[in-house]
């Protein structure tokens, strides 16, 4: 798992921490608002604390709140959470190339602790999995630093949000800082024309299919955008040597 002693003393650990300093305030603002939103919408304090500490996934937490309050069947809430989290399944496939030297429970724990931003920063810093022990140690240390920052920013701000719920008016709209954080990441990924196309198509389909149940509009939008881009790629092959990251 990420939190092993050897990771903390490795120089890459500090780099992982330092690179996460920039997105951390956005994560914290989002966590703060999620903490406030959970309590304000009527989820109990204890249940909100458990949610912040264990679920550790903002979008599925936020998506589950109205369903919990509406008394939706348990399986619907869990299935919705899984659909919203489906991108992580893809991340896990990719992360396996970096984690295959670990035993199963450590691999799974590392995956559990690696949320969106940590994943994006990690694969940006290490576009290709290391092939030797030193390289793998560097990867693990970087990921530990990044994950620790992410977890710390998310959990501490959620706890503060839960505590401050009675003092922060929801009307301030601080949660929008989380969306702006995602806007920034989205722009950072828009490095090729086909990726911009993917972004535009997914945005349009995400809105057009919003009425679908279980947040399936997100899944449909990803599917349509990816299939369209792959088709475009077939029609007009990518130039050789284009960066894979």
């Amino acid at each position: 798992m990420s939190f092993q002693r050897a990771n903390f003393s490795h120089p890459e650990f500090r780099i992982g921490v330092a690179e996460f300093l920039r997105p951390a305030p956005g994560i914290a603002a989002w966590g703060l608002m999620t903490g406030v939103a959970m309590v304000k919408s009527g989820i109990g304090i204890f249940e909100s604390l458990l949610m912040a500490l264990l679920v550790f996934a903002g979008s599925s937490q936020l998506a589950s709140i109205p369903l919990i309050l509406a008394g939706a069947p348990v399986w619907v809430i869990w299935a919705t959470g899984f659909c919203v989290n489906l991108r992580f399944v893809v991340f896990s496939l990719h992360l396996h190339h970096y984690l295959s030297h670990l035993v199963t429970w450590r691999r799974v724990m590392t995956g559990y602790l690696t949320a969106d931003l940590a994943y994006v920063l990690f694969v940006r810093r290490f576009p290709h999995p290391a092939t030797d022990a030193a390289g793998r140690a560097a990867e693990q240390a970087y990921l530990a630093g990044s994950n620790l920052m992410n977890w710390g920013a998310w959990v501490s701000s959620s706890l503060v949000g839960i505590a401050l719920a009675n003092f922060i008016p929801q009307s301030w709209g601080l949660g929008f800082a989380g969306i702006l954080c995602l806007v920034g990441i989205l722009c950072s990924l828009a490095t090729t024309r086909l990726r911009v196309l993917s972004c535009v198509v997914a945005g349009i389909v995400g809105v057009a299919a919003y009425a679908l149940p279980l947040k399936l509009n997100i899944i449909v939008a990803i599917g349509v955008a990816v299939i369209l881009c792959l088709t475009m790629e077939k029609l007009r092959p990518a130039p050789h040597g284009r960066a894979l990251s």
Binding site: V55, S92, W172, C199
Partner: protein, 110 residues
């Protein structure tokens, strides 16, 4: 403290859902080889997923397209995106976006 145990079960299940999703392929010892189309798909899936989540959050209210230009989110997101391409900095994106959002939202009620 009043604890709703039904909600506790839901929350513990959601935590397992996070483990299942983030660990999905990591439960296996085998490194799964993705077919070529899937590898290429990884180029486009992350940005598509973010756009699918973010765009409805910016341009809709409960799934209905905004019918007014007096909506702080539109301007904040546009300025945020512009700010990113100017400075290539996510924190700057958030600061610039909120600098537009808060006055419009709190000051003008947009």
């Amino acid at each position: 403290m009043d604890i709703n145990w039904h909600t506790v079960v839901v929350v513990l299940g959601l935590a397992l859902v996070t483990v299942l999703a983030r660990g999905f392929f990591l439960f296996s010892n085998k490194t799964w080889q993705l077919p070529h189309w899937a590898q290429r798909g990884l180029q486009y899936a992350p940005i598509a997923a973010l756009a699918a989540v973010v765009v409805p959050e910016v341009v809709t209210v409960q799934g209905q397209l905004v019918d007014s230009w007096q909506d702080a989110r539109l301007y904040a997101a546009a300025v945020g995106a512009g700010a990113y391409f100017w400075r290539k900095d996510v924190l700057f994106t958030i600061v610039a976006g909120m600098a537009v959002y808060l006055p419009l939202h709190l000051g003008l009620g947009w």
